[in-house]
Symmetry: C2
Subunit: 143 residues, 2 copies
């Protein structure tokens, strides 16, 4: 019989391992941060800083997440006191999201760390290769 394709060569497998490396680097570097955030939590804070007052559905769509997942993430951020949630009086179904003062501080402290760790994720590649990879990745996730 013909042998199946090697798992290790499959896009799906490679991408999963890449993501694994990415989250490992993120949480490792985050250990030395004043506030410990997961990468999703960071993404949420980042978007809320740019677009204060949006609701959860919009937040979810901006960072390409599921509504239910974002609900959980926001709940944890609220519990940590980094995000404030209040009912939108114009549309009582929606909850308006904002960073708290602590949230602003946390984001400001963590942002440089996150920016710095990005290169490390692709640390096995040369600068040119990293640029090339990002180019291809951007194209691959296009809607």
């Amino acid at each position: 019989m013909t042998s199946r394709d090697d798992l290790g060569q499959m896009p799906g497998h490679l991408i999963r391992r890449l993501n694994q490396r990415s989250t490992a680097v993120f949480s490792e570097r985050m250990k030395s941060a004043p506030v410990e955030l997961t990468s999703v939590q960071y993404a949420a804070l980042d978007v809320l800083a740019r677009e204060p007052g949006i609701d959860q559905a919009r937040l979810a769509s901006l960072i390409a997440y599921d509504r239910a997942t974002i609900g959980e993430v926001v709940k944890r951020l609220e519990k940590k006191g980094l995000v404030a949630r209040q009912v939108n009086e114009e549309d009582r179904r929606a909850r308006t999201l904002r960073l708290t003062a602590d949230g602003e501080t946390a984001l400001a402290q963590v942002a440089p760390l996150v920016a710095a760790l990005q290169a490390e994720i692709l640390g096995k590649l040369t600068e040119a290769e990293q640029a090339q990879f990002l180019e291809l990745a951007r194209k691959a996730v296009e809607p």
Copy 2:
């Protein structure tokens, strides 16, 4: 103040979205399969077909997963009747893993589907770009 890097350009974010796309394609295509497997479950079956009799720790290391996670995955595969687990008499700490007949069948049925869906994950890229991407991804996850 200087503006933070755009989230959408960050390796970590891009990789996460890629992985999201990958798992979405996988589960979408799997809906029409005779046996519905997750990508991790498939990876486990694939490795067990090549190396019957290995234990969970070795399986975890071969597909680059955490021991605890694989324990759960194997438990579900056992429940589905696709994998058999038995205490290794040479080392009573270890559990020896094997595909059942159903497991062999499931793998044979699903393997072509999985192979076919791989290209779709990178469907936004040309053939040449896909090859280039895989090359870079392989290098990026090197140990």
